[in-house]
């Protein structure tokens, strides 16, 4: 589904990604682990095309399309989702309004009609219920006054409603207690299908207990240095990055 070849990217003057290769097929869940500063979040932002991340070399191909030539909203329209490590607050904009605008923007990009308010409400309510989110939170301003766990749950609801082909989840497990982790994991597993792919960026093994990855990668200093099955995550947890890599 997505193929990344020899990706180099820099922020300002410093090169963060230094020749990264990664291929994820439909139906697969991959996890990227690695020490702080390895470039994991940079990878996530670069896949989405954040403007202050400059790609200097290499390519990203998504379903045969050259992703690097597309604007961020076009990449989203193609079916890519980014779950944020630190979801942003937008005062004055309700969750519902935000999500409906987002959904209709991607539909329009794909040449589809806007979804009716009634149908949208039905879907959002169902997804919120699946993720045990209080329906009142849908009316609140985007992430304003949300706890860390509520923000991550909100990201997961957004993913469920937007229903992407490929989801990049940047430290979705950070800041979650055990109950919230389980609920968010259920949400990720629900998104796991034959026709979707998921890339999880995480520091810890514990998320992987709930969402079992097909492939685990170790990222160090802007490159993937080792890949393996889910047992690799356990090995990392035991020995640390330095020994494994």
């Amino acid at each position: 589904m997505i193929t990344i070849k020899n990706l180099h990217a820099k922020v300002g003057d410093s090169e963060i990604l230094k020749g990264l290769d990664l291929e994820i097929k439909a139906g697969e869940v991959h996890a990227i682990m690695g020490p702080n500063g390895a470039g994991k979040s940079t990878l996530a932002n670069t896949i989405l095309g954040r403007s202050d991340y400059e790609v200097t070399e290499g390519s990203i191909t998504f379903e045969g399309k050259d992703l690097l030539s597309l604007e961020t909203y076009e990449r989203v329209g193609e079916g890519i989702f980014l779950g944020f490590q630190y979801p942003v607050e937008i005062p004055g904009v309700s969750n519902l309004n935000f999500l409906r605008t987002a959904l209709n923007s991607t539909r329009r990009y794909r040449g589809e009609e806007d979804m009716s308010a009634a149908e949208f409400m039905k879907i959002v309510r169902a997804k919120a219920k699946d993720l045990k989110m209080d329906p009142e939170m849908l009316k609140r301003f985007v992430n304003v006054g949300f706890s860390g766990g509520e923000k991550k749950r909100n990201e997961t609801v957004q993913m469920a409603v937007l229903n992407p082909k490929f989801a990049v989840l940047d430290e979705t497990d950070s800041g979650l207690d055990i109950d919230a982790l389980r609920i968010v994991s259920d949400g990720i597993n629900a998104q796991r299908r034959d026709d979707t792919a998921i890339l999880m960026i995480t520091h810890y093994q514990r998320l992987l207990d709930y969402v079992k990855p097909d492939v685990v990668h170790v990222m160090v200093d802007g490159r993937i240095v080792k890949s393996g099955g889910s047992e690799l995550a356990l090995e990392l947890e035991e020995k640390g990055y330095a020994d494994v890599a």
């Binding site: 989203v76 004055g92 937007l162």
Partner: protein, 489 residues
């Protein structure tokens, strides 16, 4: 001529910069250009004024001659040549049509294009679930149609053009005209008193809750013509009315003057909600053309427990100079001011409010949201004044500015004068920019950049926008998006 107008309209629509910039090709009757006592008499005669009103106009004109253009506002524009303006322009066919069927079809078409319903079965801008709204349509210097009159008359509500009211309800006009904004209040108010040609009069009788929203839609069409309208709203004891005001003008290279006066009188326990969506032509990207919007709006909360709430969304005009105010005379009376002002390109706005506390336990709330971009310049100017007699006054003021470019200016000038030690006055102000993180978060959810900015800005203005009646809020949200187009990057 019509062809050019149509082409202009299409260009405007295609670029989506100012959708209302078309010209209606209609034969108009003008007063001779320029201003002197004869012109004042001409307008007065056209309006069939009673003697007292002509005298009142002449008095104002003579006072105006001795007054000076105010220079304290933080705006710059070349001196206005008051003799290069037409003070009266009326479509020839507009002579008091008795029913909508008699209104010139070209005028009906104009309002249709503007999304203003003049047929009573239509609703504003095709908004789903919209309620009935009565409309007074003012075209250049005259009112061309007023809808829902019968239904309103049944409720005892008077809603008509001020010219008609002068004829039909002279006692009310004589009693209230100029009692809130005195003739010599300021330069432009004095000018308005001398040459006002039309506007709206509203009277809500004792204890009546007006059965629908009332609105006036102002359209400047004719070239080199000033619009000087006069609105007078009287809410008798225990009554309630919500009134809306909208305005647009064609795209022209010359500046045009709009100098209006709005007076509101709220008697005991009465409540008036006054909402404006001001969308006069702002001029082009280089600052050429646009409306000079010099308006005096003031409410007198005369009775105890009365309340007046101003809500304004200001996106248009080349230069705006406007301070909707409340004189809180009655005990426990309440004044509110909710404002969103957007300036782009070369627009200049100096706007705010005055809350004058005279009665005991009066309170006021000021929420001002300024958004500036391009090379525009915006100033919030507000006065909170507490008189010695006013015990237990409370005021809360919040002024937030959002800057979208590095080349725009935002200024906050609050004046606070407190002459009673029991007053509680709070003032908060912030200045911010849209953060990169906010923008990227929206983009990463599939929004285009302009859509993202419009959404964040609408969120920033939420407290004000939610004060607007639903039909206007939808319109105003779209307008904010359009006004900010091309402002990103």
């Amino acid at each position: 001529m019509a062809g050019t107008a149509e082409a202009k309209r299409q260009v405007a629509e295609a670029t989506d910069e100012y959708k209302y910039g078309f010209v209606t090709d209609i034969e108009s009757e003008f007063a001779p250009k320029g201003l002197n006592e004869d012109i004042v008499r001409f307008i007065s005669a056209k309006k069939n004024d009673p003697e007292w009103l002509l005298d009142w106009r002449l008095k104002a004109y003579r006072a105006w001659l001795k007054m000076k253009n105010p220079v304290w506002a933080n705006v710059e524009f070349p001196p206005i040549d008051f003799n290069d303006i037409y003070y009266y322009a009326a479509p020839k066919t507009a002579d008091k049509p008795k029913s909508l069927d008699e209104v010139d079809p070209q005028l009906l078409e104009t309002y249709k294009k503007l999304g203003i319903p003049l047929a009573e079965q239509e609703v504003l801008a095709g908004v789903e679930g919209a309620r009935k709204i009565a409309v007074d349509a003012v075209f250049d210097s005259v009112s061309v149609a007023t809808t829902f009159r019968e239904e309103l008359t049944k409720a005892g509500v008077i809603f008509m053009s001020i010219s008609e009211a002068v004829q039909e309800h002279p006692e009310l006009i004589k009693k209230y005209l100029g009692t809130v904004v005195p003739q010599r209040d300021n330069y432009f108010a004095a000018l308005n008193c001398a040459v006002f040609s039309d506007g709206t009069f509203v009277y809500i009788p004792k204890g009546v809750r007006c059965p629908m929203e009332l609105s006036t839609y102002f359209r400047i069409n004719a070239e080199n013509t000033g619009q000087f309208e006069r609105t007078l709203i009287v809410a008798d004891e225990g009554s309630y009315v919500s009134y809306l005001e909208g305005c647009t003008a064609p795209m022209r290279d010359e500046n045009q003057l709009h100098a209006a006066v709005v007076e509101i009188v709220a008697l005991g326990d009465a409540e008036v909600k006054y909402s404006t969506v001001q969308n006069w032509y702002p001029g082009d990207k280089d600052g050429k053309g646009g409306i000079y919007n010099f308006v005096t709006k003031r409410a007198l909360c005369k009775g105890n427990n009365s309340k007046v709430s101003w809500t304004q969304v200001e996106t248009g005009s080349a230069v705006t100079w406007k301070y909707p105010s409340c004189i809180l005379m009655g005990d426990n009376s309440v004044g509110e001011f909710y404002s969103v002002a957007v300036t782009n390109n070369h627009q200049q706005a100096d706007t705010g409010t005055k809350m004058i506390h005279m009665g005991k336990n009066t309170s006021s709330l000021i929420i001002s949201k300024g958004i500036s971009t391009g090379v525009s310049n915006q100033t919030y100017r507000g006065l909170v004044k507490v008189m010695p007699s006013a015990d237990g006054v409370r005021n809360f003021t919040q002024c937030d500015s959002l800057l979208l470019s590095d080349t725009c200016g935002a200024h906050t000038v609050p004046y606070i004068e407190v002459k009673n030690p029991t007053a509680q006055i709070e003032h908060e102000a912030t200045t911010s920019k849209i953060s990169e993180d906010q923008l990227f978060y929206c983009l990463a959810r599939g929004l285009g950049e302009e859509e993202a900015v419009a959404m964040i800005v609408n969120g920033f203005c939420k407290e004000v926008m939610q004060q607007l009646p639903m039909e206007f809020a939808v319109e105003a949200q779209k307008l904010l998006g359009i006004s900010l187009e091309g402002s990103v990057g």
